[in-house]
Symmetry: C2
């Protein structure tokens, strides 16, 4: 059974692309406030951008917003990504952005919901409850998790930027930010090639520190475009030495692009690859 990040890397190479397309059917972007409009919005975005997408990231909140019909729409969208993938002959990973975090049988229920019922390949999780809240998801060997590490919002300083010290047994002395500690935990927990991190693209210094703490992991990085993150600084700070390890997630600036989402995705995909070339020479 192929591990999630091996599957993702295959798609990244096939495409080639480091672009993740966010599927955020915000009600203000829809032709009418219905689950059907949310589905149609996403299906047309998927169709237009699939050739350039290393992954798709539907955000559960915007579907949950529409209640039962919203959940049906979410399942339809994930299924449609599978069909579009089949047409292209290259399976595109679906990362469910749900930021779940609970324990024991509750975590198991969320995992079954995301991976078995909805058919997502990976999910974003909140690390505040610790390892046993992550473990039920890791039991799915071919699926992946991205743990929230350093987010791009102002409130990320309330907890994530705090210095933690002294460190737990066996980790030596020193002081580091909570988000760096999360990155080190994730690096330790990644024994199955299935743990990644969510690290905002807006703060290159934080990206550098997370990369130092978790040299092997894949990052899911929102914040380029709408939130003002600079692409070159982000890639320079966050990419692994092999020029991979970072998915640049973009939602609104592609969905709302004047030139249309297909052209916008193609251009951004190329821009990312060219920037990577200018940094790494490959």
């Amino acid at each position: 059974m192929e591990a999630f990040f091996s599957f993702l890397e295959r798609r990244v190479d096939d495409c080639p692309s480091l672009l993740c397309i966010g599927l955020d059917p915000h009600v203000s972007d829809l032709s009418e406030p219905t689950a059907k409009a949310a589905r149609d919005f996403c299906l047309s975005l998927v169709k237009a951008t699939a050739p350039y997408a290393a992954a798709f990231k539907p955000n559960a909140a915007f579907f949950e917003f529409f209640g039962p019909e919203g959940w049906s729409a979410l399942k339809d969208v994930i299924q449609a990504i599978g069909e579009e993938s089949a047409r292209m002959g290259s399976l595109i990973p679906v990362i469910l952005d749900a930021k779940r975090g609970d324990i024991a049988s509750t975590a198991e229920a969320y995992a079954r919901s995301a991976f078995e019922h909805l058919g997502a390949h990976a999910i974003t999780l909140n690390p505040y409850l610790g390892f046993d809240s992550i473990q039920p998801f890791l039991g799915y060997q071919e699926k992946g998790v991205f743990l929230l590490c350093k987010t791009s919002n102002p409130g990320s300083r309330d907890l994530q930027d705090l210095s933690v010290s002294p460190l737990p047994e066996g980790e030596g002395g020193g002081v580091r930010a909570l988000y760096e500690h999360v990155a080190r935990l994730a690096q330790q927990w990644n024994t199955g090639d299935n743990v990644g991190l969510v690290v905002g693209a807006t703060q290159p210094e934080a990206l550098t520190r997370v990369r130092a703490a978790a040299p092997d992991l894949w990052f899911l990085s929102p914040g380029v475009g709408a939130q003002g993150g600079d692409l070159e600084s982000a890639l320079r700070s966050g990419l692994r030495k092999d020029g991979k390890g970072m998915l640049i997630n973009v939602s609104r600036s592609i969905a709302r692009a004047a030139e249309g989402p297909g052209l916008a995705a193609a251009e951004l995909r190329d821009q990312i690859l060219e920037t990577r070339y200018s940094i790494f020479g490959k």
Copy 2:
């Protein structure tokens, strides 16, 4: 418009009770693995225990597990609690245990889903993303939030128990655990009488420390019963000086009680009140 915790205290006094009944329709407890069985399980639990319930706490995961039909069932259950309340002449608050945490328009979508579409009165939230992830929920002045603070699972030590230092500007020196910092933040953020904390009942020392950091707040405390928490130590450590400020949440040991959930809830309600009397003399 009445603030959430004023509404809760009214119910606590009316009943009187500090017992919160968890509605966790785990598939292994159902007559068959369907959303209908989950709904029936909860409706019968609500009917049997409503006279003794200070609040009900449905856990979103066990409904989400059943996809679109599960979401319909969750909405039905919340509505049924309202109808049962009306019959009794005393409205019972519904706390949606969803542990959500996201930012900006995504947090707004989760808030609308929980408060407007589902009709919950309060929600559990994860604080890792900081104040701006909580703010959209606080915008609903009559609704409440319970922030995860110190949970009862083993993994709670991975982040929550870490010592944080130095503290952010204006908070003086000293070292404290991350969960105490969360408690202090929540106490500061509670300007609208609508912020509480989730604090496990299994660790009296942690309850004491959280109570010191957040003297005014309501705690939602799971862990008595199935997880082995001792009721007297929990109440002694967690109750406010006015003998309130703590909801003891119990799910399985009531739902699965040999004598039936109604009798089990009545007994536990009485036991909580008697224990409080033995501690506070009131």
